[in-house]
Amino acid sequence: MFEAIAFYLFAALTIVMFTITVMTSQALYAITAMAAGMIFISAFFFILGADFLGAIQIIVYTGAVMALYAFGMMFFDTTRNVIEKRTNPKIVFVLGILAAVMVVAIFVAPIVSNNIHALYPVEANVGNSQAVGMVLFSKYLVPFEVAAVMLLVAMIAGIVLAGKKMDKSLTLMADDQIALNHTSQESNHKGGGH
């Protein structure tokens, strides 16, 4: 019963929050609503016994990701009213709702299967984080490491893209310009050194 109430409550909240995120023209509302929605989602994780995931959700999403977005918002100066030109708004809703309806149409049928074998069963006596840890560092060690590489890639990408070096494009400069640029940089460098 408690579970049901919690589910419906959080479901309603999440839906409302995300709807606000999607529909509002105030960037600040949007980001706030999204952050709230993220937290509510973590509630689901806790309800479902995925404590570790819930924690991660709060830390990574509501923490790191939201912080990044907030930074982005300030950088792009979109804290105020965002003016967006709407083209064919109906299509958007029709497509979105159609997609939902059709997926739901399938989902209302219960899954009939006798052959689902839990590969890594959830054991009642083991804490969620512990179980996750076991799996993560055995079976999912490789994806985990690859995810590390991925984060490295993202980091490099972020640094490189946002770096100052991008401000001048060698691609668009003629050879002599590049040479000129290069020497002036060199001299600047030397000058700075002195």
């Binding site: 083209t87 958007v92 497509l95 159609l98 997609a99 059709m102 997926v103 399938i106």
Partner: protein, 628 residues
């Protein structure tokens, strides 16, 4: 003897090639001499062969293979037998004469060498035609003479009418040639060979309808070459060519090839008397039809051409009625006097500076005595007055008609004989008698070169005496042809008929003289007679050329233009281009889907997803329905 055969056959070719070497250069008399000499050689060889054949032998050689594939085997085979040797003699005599004559006639022509090349080539083709021992060889000659005829009719190619006539002749002949080809195909697929000897031996075993078809198709070929109705119009137009050409090709030799074909194929036609009757009827019709047109024509050469046509009709009557040897005999006799007539006309033309209207001549006998005599005698022969050649051959045909109980044909032919006499002497009278109307046009006529007249003389002699060879000839050719004798049973009837005919003809001559011998003006189309319907009908050749023009030529051109501009370009080609354009236009019109806007792209992606989902749901329902 084979050697003589080859000499007879190939010396004209050698002459032609020799002349062709100088073809594009200005006149070199040597070409005339060489070709004439070579033709004379050919004539001599033919004579030797004739002598040999008279001894009851035939010469048959197979030079080499021409086509051999599958079961088909066609050699270059030549046969000199009783029929072909007669034709060879006719051809070589007339052509030798014409060659010599042409040296004078073409004296001042720029295309002198070219002329002799063509002329000798023609003789070669004609020799191939008559000497071949199979239908394919015959067809080679058949088309070869057609080609040479084209080249010679259109000899003065600067003249539009000449080239037009050349093309007309060629194309009309081609129509007929198709019939002949089909005939050959029929023979081959039914008999398995197209050698004369095999075909004639086997043809009797075929079902009668097949033979009938063979006969019809071969005759269609003959109709074209011999200018039988309805393919006759080209012959009159062919008079655009130099006159010696008309003499040789369009009177003596080529046009008789059709008759030769029917004569040669007598074993086939013997089996199908119905077709024979048709041939005879058509022949009779053409005889009258052509003669009627000759009555009013004002073109000297065309008159003679119509007379040729008319005489060809006679020959077909004979051939159609099974009197092959008679047909061949008339062919021979006709060749001599008609060639003579044409060459005479050539002299007149020369004298008159290519004026062809006899109404503009008159009184020429004073300046052109030789020609006058020759032409008159030739006309007499043509009219069939005893004892000239025409009498023997033509009267025989009348007799054939009578004996075979085809009285309608007989009557028609008789009538035609009268008409023939009339228009022949109308011509003679207008040209040689009466006032010197040519003076009105400031022309100073002169007689032709002596040697030309000399050259013509053999023909004159033959035109006079050819009839006396009748029995020798009969003996000779009936070795090969059915030897039916055509005698009217009752002596009295025979005499009445013969004398009656002679009288009738003479009456016609007299009438012609009376009417035209003292002609003194040039008609200008205003006289009452000229405005009569009959006259106009005849004058316009029964409106047949016009009919062809309106019904075939023009619509064909129009249709061709439609086929090109409307169908080919606007439908067939446009269809292809339309397919390409539709594809391209589709691209042009839909490329805006990619409008470069990210939102659009995202929407399309979601759209794709929705479509897939919709299909998924639909199929799920379907699966469940099937499962249930």
């Amino acid at each position: 003897m084979e050697l003589y055969l080859y000499i007879a056959l190939f010396s004209p070719l050698v002459g032609s090639l020799f002349a062709a070497i100088f073809g594009a250069s200005p006149k070199t008399s040597i070409t005339g001499y060489v070709t004439s000499a070579l033709l004379f050689t050919s004539f001599v060889s033919s004579a030797i062969l004739l002598n040999y054949v008279m001894g009851g032998h035939t010469v048959h050689v197979e030079m080499m293979t021409w086509m051999a594939t599958g079961d088909l085997y066609i050699p270059f085979g030549f046969v000199v037998d009783q029929v072909s040797v007669v034709m060879m003699m006719v051809v070589t005599i007339v052509s030798t004469v014409v060659h010599v004559y042409s040296i004078g006639y073409m004296d001042h022509d720029k295309g002198f060498n070219r002329f002799f090349s063509w002329l000798s080539a023609f003789v070669f083709s004609m020799m191939v035609l008559v000497m071949s021992d199979n239908f394919a060889g015959l067809f080679i000659g058949w088309e070869g003479v057609g080609l040479c005829s084209w080249g010679l009719i259109g000899f003065w190619y600067q003249k539009d009418s000449a080239t037009w006539a050349a093309n007309e002749a060629f194309i009309m002949n081609r129509i007929a040639d198709l019939g002949m080809l089909i005939g050959i195909f029929l023979i081959y697929w039914n008999i398995g060979s197209i050698q004369y000897d095999v075909v004639f031996a086997e043809v009797g075993k075929l079902p009668i309808d097949v033979i009938t078809w063979i006969g019809i198709f071969l005759f269609i070929g003959a109709m074209g070459k011999s200018a039988q109705f309805p393919l006759h119009t080209w012959l009159a137009d062919a008079m655009e060519g130099p006159t010696p050409v008309s003499a040789l090709i369009h009177a003596a030799t080529m046009v008789t090839a059709g008759v030769y074909l029917v004569v040669r194929s007598n074993p086939i036609y013997d089996l199908i008397p119905n077709v024979g009757l048709f041939i005879a009827s058509l022949g009779a019709f053409v005889a009258l039809f052509a003669a009627s047109m000759a009555l009013v024509n004002r073109d000297m050469k065309r008159i003679i051409a119509y007379s040729t046509l008319s005489q060809l009709g006679y020959m077909f009557v004979a051939a159609g009625l099974g009197a092959y040897w008679v047909a061949l005999f008339h062919l021979m006799a006709h060749a001599f006097f008609k060639a003579l007539l044409f060459l005479g006309a050539g002299n007149v033309m020369h004298a008159m500076h290519d004026e062809l209207d006899p109404f503009k001549m008159g009184g020429l006998r004073k300046v052109m005595k030789g020609t006058f005599i020759m032409m008159t005698l030739a006309s007499v022969a043509l009219a069939g007055i005893y004892p000239f050649a025409g009498f023997f051959s033509k009267d025989l045909i009348l007799e054939v008609g009578f004996v075979e109980h085809h009285y309608v044909i007989y009557t028609v032919l008789l009538l035609t004989a009268g008409l023939t006499a009339f228009y022949s002497f109308r011509l003679v009278a207008l040209i040689f008698h009466g006032e010197d109307r040519y003076k009105l046009f400031g022309i100073h006529p002169h007689e032709a070169y002596k040697f030309m007249l000399v050259a013509m003389s053999p023909l004159l002699v033959l035109a006079i005496i050819a009839g006396s060879f009748k029995m020798t000839y009969y003996q000779l050719v009936t070795n090969l042809l059915p030897s039916t004798q055509y005698h009217v049973h009752s002596e009295a009837t025979y005499w009445i008929m013969t004398i009656g005919t002679q009288l009738f003809v003479m009456l016609a001559i007299a009438f012609a003289y009376k009417k035209y011998a003292n002609w003194n003006s040039v008609p200008d189309g205003s006289s009452a007679m000229e405005n009569r319907f009959c006259y106009k009908l005849l004058w316009n050749q029964y409106y047949i050329p016009k009919f062809y023009e309106e019904v075939f030529s023009k619509p064909y051109l129009e249709l061709s233009k439609i086929a090109w501009k409307q169908i080919d370009l606007k439908i067939v080609d446009a269809m292809v281009d339309t397919i390409a354009n539709v594809i391209y236009k589709t691209g042009e019109n839909t490329r805006d889907i990619q409008d470069g806007n990210l939102s659009t792209m995202l929407r399309w992606m979601v759209f794709g997803l929705v479509v897939l989902l919709a299909l998924a749901v639909a199929f799920t329902v379907g699966y469940n329905a099937v499962g249930a």
